[in-house]
């Protein structure tokens, strides 16, 4: 297969972890006789430094022409402490999601047996947890109108949802549930928010088309608790943009590290793959960033094009690295000094020689 892959390493630890994912994809291409080409582009603070915007037109063009986008991370501490900055790294990520129409974000939350003890949660609490979060990605309050009054004393954000935005992701989530444990949980705040009531109404309407899927309805505050005390109750979670942002980062505690969480963002025409973790500037250029989330994002990219055997081999490599403690310091209490690059090299080697 020929794949033209746009690579947007971004800021902080983004470039380091993305380099490992590219390394792994190259090994897969070699091993399976595919032709993967990689086109690099700037985004986030690194794009602001060079072009004065977090999302240059050239980056959009490269992504639009690509078959898939591999994304690193964006963000820079200086902007976090300056609420007045008009140009912000996050505009790069929100902008590319909008430009490519990436309306559906999919995040697997899997409790790896080899890492159960790493979690803040008790082992018996999380064992066998396997959740797929479907998060709507281009609607809601992150994309609504915002305003600040002239005197700077009143600020507003609007959360809007349209029926079609809910329907398209709901159908996908229902279909995913059918191929899994046939359970779907809608998370909203329908007892208070009008937009949440629209979500609930649409899902109640669609549900009869998937009679084999059992639907459960939770409020976001309750879901934030249930996710920790009864994670195994969940199969597919369907939710709106901000609630999905909160729940998926919270869910990382089940996996033991946010450095393991990959995601796919799908639109009707484009697809982007990225780790859930941010730029984590403090850890940049120290060789300590965990590349697994980025490598598992590359595995989701392979899934997306039906390259099942290839994706499985990448995941086997990841499993093996976890089992043999070839992991960065965040996960490792056996060996010191296993760097970002070493983890990538190990998985590359495994792909070349899967013994």
């Amino acid at each position: 297969m020929k794949l033209n892959i746009a690579v947007l390493p971004g800021d902080g630890i983004g470039p380091e972890v993305t380099a490992q994912a590219v390394k792994v994809l190259k090994a897969i291409a070699m091993e399976f006789n595919h032709v993967f080409t990689f086109n690099y582009a700037l985004v986030g603070a690194s794009a602001i430094d060079k072009h004065g915007t977090a999302l240059p037109q050239e980056t959009i063009d490269i992504c639009t022409k690509a078959d898939a986008v591999l994304f690193g991370a964006i963000g820079k501490t200086a902007f976090d402490l300056d609420p007045d900055a008009k140009i912000r790294p996050e505009q790069g990520l929100l902008g590319i999601r909008k430009a490519l129409g990436l309306h559906t974000n999919i995040r697997p939350i899997i409790a790896y047996d080899d890492l159960l003890s790493k979690s803040s949660l008790k082992v018996r609490q999380i064992k066998d947890t396997n959740i797929l979060i479907y998060r709507e990605l281009t609607g809601g309050i992150y994309f609504g109108d915002r305003s600040l009054s002239e005197d700077g004393n009143t600020a507003s954000d609007v959360c809007t949802y349209h029926r079609f935005e809910i329907e398209r992701i709901a159908h996908q989530a229902f279909k995913a549930a059918q191929s899994r444990k046939r359970k779907l949980a809608l998370v909203d705040k329908a007892n208070v928010l009008e937009s949440s009531r629209l979500w609930r109404r649409v899902v109640l309407e669609i549900a009869p088309q998937y009679p084999d899927v059992k639907v459960n309805y939770l409020y976001i505050d309750n879901a934030a608790m249930e996710l920790i005390i009864r994670p195994r109750q969940f199969d597919v979670i369907l939710t709106e943009n901000m609630f999905g942002d909160i729940l998926s980062e919270e869910a990382s505690v089940i996996v033991g590290s946010i450095g393991l969480l990959a995601s796919a963002s799908l639109g009707d025409e484009h697809a982007m793959f990225e780790p859930i973790h941010g730029a984590y500037t403090k850890a940049a250029n120290k060789g300590i960033a965990n590349p697994i989330a980025s490598i598992l994002s590359a595995a989701m990219l392979l899934d997306h094009f039906g390259l099942d055997e290839e994706a499985a081999l990448v995941r086997e490599g990841v499993d093996k690295s976890l089992k043999l403690h070839i992991t960065t310091p965040d996960l490792n209490n056996k060996y010191d000094n296993i760097s970002t690059t070493k983890v990538g090299d190990f998985i590359e080697d495994f792909i070349n020689n899967p013994d």
Copy 2:
């Protein structure tokens, strides 16, 4: 002291747990020679059943005249499954907060030594956790304009904050931090939301007035994770309405049970005290509802009027009930059949004979 207390038991388990809190307050009045009078009023689904509204004017009047309000819980399953219901139990709670101007909600999150093993989290993870959450209660998206388009296909909610709403709770939170571990964490989503940027700007401006308080800034998605993996890092958490709703319910996992979480809601003229848990209709009228959160809410009521010795005695009674396993089934794996009423009776007895 003479106190006129409005009692709003509400729905589901509300009446059962509130009855225990009233019992405890009566024992305190007896023991310390206070005169507490209790005036009951309807709210939530029980008010809808009788008056067709979740918050009758009579209820507002009783609360307005009272020195303090003791609140139970509201909600009914039938409404949760009907997104089209125009009259909803939750309007009773949101309405009374608005009517009494209760803008500041305070929720202590304390890991009780006797209950550490109950938590989903590892004991070493949560031991000595003591957090005070300051949640803004009458602004933000829960109180903003909402709209549904004529064709029912587009729904919106508006999140608005005014500088004065942020300032008044921020000053209170800073003062609370000064009397504790002198750490304050602001939780927002300032990298995306205009309202969050106003929060951050105001807190950045106010902070120099409290030079002994160390301020930390977190995004809500990150905070939802940090609360689980490093709960001891937090002293006072300051946040807006919805983020506070999510974080405080999530934080219940630290305490081991949402049945232990009390809260105070304060305005400039009024004060209300309530458990964090909801109506939990499934458990109603079975004698299994945990009354501790409601009883600890009564302790916060006593705190509020400077009745420190009285509040301490109630908390001692609660501690003793936990230590001796005089608890409802949610916490008890030693004795069966300890009912809601029995827990209340035990604490009442302890107050009468603290030996």
